[in-house]
């Protein structure tokens, strides 16, 4: 059997894995709100800094 069959099968399987990951992410609601997480990501650091500040005070 030619190696091309093997390679293409593997590549399709990899692609299918990504498709599965994508569908799973959608199902978990990761695509429901694009805005809030992007802002929230920035907050965590600020909060920690703030905690330090209040500790010092």
């Amino acid at each position: 059997m030619s190696v091309i069959y093997l390679l293409i099968t593997i590549s399709i399987i990899v692609a299918l894995l990504f498709l599965y990951a994508f569908i799973k992410a959608v199902r978990q609601g990761q695509f429901d709100d694009y805005y809030t997480p992007s802002v929230r990501m920035l907050f965590d650091d600020e909060t920690k800094q703030n905690d330090n500040k209040t500790n010092k005070d």
Partner: protein, 789 residues
């Protein structure tokens, strides 16, 4: 920091009301308190993300008592187990990153809350809390105290949880998976080198591509088949028909191609098309969702009312109210049902239902109707009918509102597609008939190629993209439209009807300023006593404006209509009225004044601040050139002259209009073939707003709106109305230009198809290229037009 704006909410601070706390200025105690709460809990970062992000907390006394009722609370919970409750609250104020930050840090303000999560687009916060430590009511009160008042209405109470519709994203993902892989696997075919290797594996590649195209064809594109089928059944030709036809034909032709080994087929173009079109649809959905208008009339009903059981007061759901119940209505609560007033006299504001009338005084034993807002102290009422039968529901279930949904607008795309499909079929059939005499196989190829290449994906995308982009631009400039068809309707408007109160005038109580010689308290009491006898609107307003004083008996009171009032009090002869009446030179400035003279000595005047919106004259002058302008008012003719001097000639002024008459007037205009835009202030002209082709409500606070309207314009942007109308016209122009462009692409494609030269590679290039150029063209054009003044 700007010292003139409140540190918390950003409002301009009145000098005398300024509150300085912690070296920051606040406009009122409410704002200061919120700041205090935040600073005590180390949450002042709130102010770092956005300048002045807050809102003034509203008084909530007793307002949320219904949350003591377990039945109601249970309906508001998403999830309920021993010590974990989850609720989702809709908070209209959510608007910036500061809001997200504070709402996601609620657990630092209240120990019972374990976590909270914001969905910015839906303006919802999902709170997970422990019911043993904190109740839903306490959470709501906490939110209210920090200026994030949740909006709880019958809507929340009614609806079962809606499942989020994610099918479009699934379809898009699948389409992209198919498209990407097929593109890669098609590459060998694109460089059609006749070598041994390629020939050996050709079959394998083609069947693999076929298999990969199946999910895209069967699943991702399914929406188009459904839509096409529906529109055929409805006897209308919409744009989805040629698209569905193109996709199906493309699939059949390609399958035949590979089965009989004629060629590689068009699977690459097919999946590409499906992907791009779904992408456009997603964009459209996201833009439109953000401006969702889901709330309906029920939102205005109170969710619960206070019922009196003997000596007890219990909050019960509004649907449980039955005839004979005794209800307690607090100040500024809505009256939920018809009933009889049982307690002392009160005044009720029916502006919500009937029009712009002043509050009506009701005595004990009078009938009071649903929909009125109680303005006096606490009252008790006896219910006459249950909620569903009441007058308000009847008014709202008026057919006007129902008609709105079914009214079919012929959108531009629909109009074009009506011609598009027949013409397309005609070209296909004609070229088939010509080729059949030359070569039967080519004839079949040409027939399918025409249907494939003419697939109007660019055409279908250009309108949604332009309109979506324009909706976004308008939203940024504070005109929020219900949906995209409103833009097309706006462009067609030729008559604009304005409501007066609250629309071209501001809702804020107009300021009254005294200008003249000093009057002491005694003289002020004289003026007030004299004013008391007069029923003129200006007298009433001035009477209310003046501070309370000992009222004195008036002798020789006389009111001269259109001039003023006079009388003698305690030996002083006082005249109040127009300049001529008190013996002054007539006013030269365009203002509403009331002049005072005491013992024939001119004292000064009370100036009624111009209550018309900024830029009104300019706006009307600008609009007057292109539109017929009318003003409908529920008030009397008192303002006719002022309006006539402010507005361009030819503006029709109609006074004393009841809501039904306003509605009838709009209908009358429409029967004359006019496209009417109604600009009103919301509910009291709801009928007229719904009847008009475009109903815009002007709102001082965007979170308060009328569901009958097609759009909400922030009051500060009122003078830009002309710009919005012009922009909508330019939008339609953009769409027409993009249609021309996409038709040009189609002609190029067709010329390949008709001559029998359509190679899969040509199709794979021309089809995505047209889509991409059209989309970028409309985006650039609409942004360009937005920048025009």
């Amino acid at each position: 920091m700007n010292t003139h704006n409140c540190f918390h909410c950003g409002l301009v601070i009145e000098k005398k009301e300024e509150i300085v706390f912690d070296q920051r200025s606040f406009c009122c105690n409410g704002c200061k308190t919120v700041y205090e709460i935040f600073s005590l809990n180390g949450l002042t970062d709130y102010y770092n993300f956005e300048k002045a992000p807050g809102a003034t907390p509203q008084d909530s006394k007793g307002k949320y008592d219904f949350l003591d009722n377990e039945a109601i609370v249970n309906r508001l919970l998403d999830f309920k187990e021993d010590n974990t409750h989850i609720t989702s609250l809709y908070i209209p104020h959510i608007h910036c990153s500061s809001c997200i930050w504070i709402l996601e840090n609620l657990h630092r303000l209240c120990s019972g809350i374990s976590s909270s999560q914001v969905n910015f687009h839906e303006k919802k916060v999902r709170i997970i809390f422990n019911p043993d430590t904190v109740s839903l009511k306490q959470i709501v009160l906490l939110l209210n105290s920090i200026g994030y008042e949740p909006y709880i209405s019958l809507d929340n109470y009614d609806t079962k949880k809606k499942q989020v519709d994610r099918s479009l994203i699934y379809k898009l993902g699948v389409a992209f998976f198919c498209f990407g892989n097929i593109m890669l696997l098609s590459f060998p075919e694109y460089f059609e080198v006749d070598d041994v290797w390629l020939n050996k594996y050709r079959g394998f590649f083609r069947w693999l591509v076929f298999a990969l195209a199946m999910p895209s064809f069967l699943y991702s594109a399914s929406g188009y088949y459904v839509s096409a089928f529906k529109s055929i059944r409805a006897g209308m030709l919409n744009i989805d028909i040629p698209i569905a036809l193109g996709i199906v034909v493309m699939f059949i032709r390609s399958t035949i191609d590979i089965v009989f080994d004629y060629g590689s087929g068009f699977f690459d173009s097919l999946t590409g098309l499906v992907f791009f079109m779904l992408l456009g649809r997603l964009f459209q959905q996201k833009t439109y969702n953000f401006l969702s208008f889901e709330r309906d009339f029920k939102s205005y009903f109170p969710i619960a009312v206070t019922k009196i059981f003997g000596n007890e007061e219990v909050a019960i759901p509004v649907y449980d109210v039955v005839a004979g119940d005794r209800l307690l209505i607090r100040n500024s609560e809505l009256i939920p049902v018809d009933g009889i007033l049982m307690s002392a006299a009160t005044s009720i504001d029916y502006s919500f239902v009937t029009g712009e009338a002043e509050p009506i005084i009701k005595k004990s034993g009078d009938k009071i109707y649903a929909g009125g807002r109680q303005m006096g102290p606490v009252i008790e009422m006896q219910v006459l009918s249950s909620v569903s039968q009441s007058y308000l529901t009847q008014l709202w279930s008026n057919e006007v509102f129902a008609k709105k949904d079914n009214r079919t607008y012929k959108t531009l795309t629909d109009t074009i597609s009506r011609y598009f499909t027949p013409v397309l079929l005609l070209i296909a059939v004609v070229s088939f008939n010509i080729w059949i005499f030359i070569d039967a196989t080519t004839a079949f190829n040409v027939f399918t190629a025409v249907l494939i290449v003419a697939c109007p994906c660019a055409l279908a995308l250009s309108a949604p993209f332009t309109l979506g982009n324009v909706l976004r631009i308008m939203g940024k400039r504070k005109l929020y439209l219900k949906n995209a068809t409103v833009i097309e309707q706006m462009a067609k408007v030729d008559t604009i009807v304005f409501d007066k109160t609250g629309t071209i005038t501001t809702n804020k109580k107009s300021e009254i300023i005294y200008d003249g010689e000093y009057i002491d308290n005694k003289e002020r009491a004289f003026i007030k006593s004299l004013l008391r006898g007069s029923n003129h609107p200006l007298s009433r307003r001035l009477y209310e404006f003046l501070p309370a004083a000992q009222l004195l008996p008036v002798d020789d009171f006389k009111e001269i209509t259109g001039k003023g009032i006079q009388g003698t009090i305690d030996g002083f002869y006082i005249k109040i009225g127009s300049a001529a009446f008190v013996g002054e030179d007539p006013d030269t400035v365009q203002q509403t004044n009331v002049h005072i003279s005491i013992n024939r000595n001119y004292q000064g005047k009370y100036v009624f601040d111009n209550q018309y919106r900024d830029g009104l004259s300019e706006l009307f002058a600008q609009l007057g050139k292109g539109y017929e302008l009318k003003i409908l008012s529920g008030d009397n003719e008192g303002e006719r002259e002022v309006l006539q001097s402010l507005l361009p000639k030819g503006t029709e002024l109609i006074f004393n209009q009841k809501p039904e008459q306003k509605l009838a007037y709009i209908e009358h205009l429409q029967q004359q073939g006019k496209n009417v835009m109604m600009v009103g202030d919301g509910l009291n002209d709801a009928g007229a707003l719904a009847q008009s082709n475009v109903g815009i409500s002007i709102s001082e606070n965007v979170n308060v709106f009328s569901p009958a309207c097609d759009g909400i314009l922030d009051a500060s942007q009122f003078k830009k109305l002309g710009w919005f109308l012009k922009f909508s016209k330019n939008t339609i122009k953009t769409i027409k230009m993009s249609f021309t462009l996409s038709l040009l692409y189609n002609i190029v494609g067709l010329s390949f198809a008709v001559t029998g030269n359509l190679e899969p590679l040509t199709a794979a290039i021309i089809m995505p290229l047209s889509t991409i150029t059209i989309v970028s063209f409309v985006t650039l054009m609409s942004n360009y037009f937005a920048r025009l003044r």
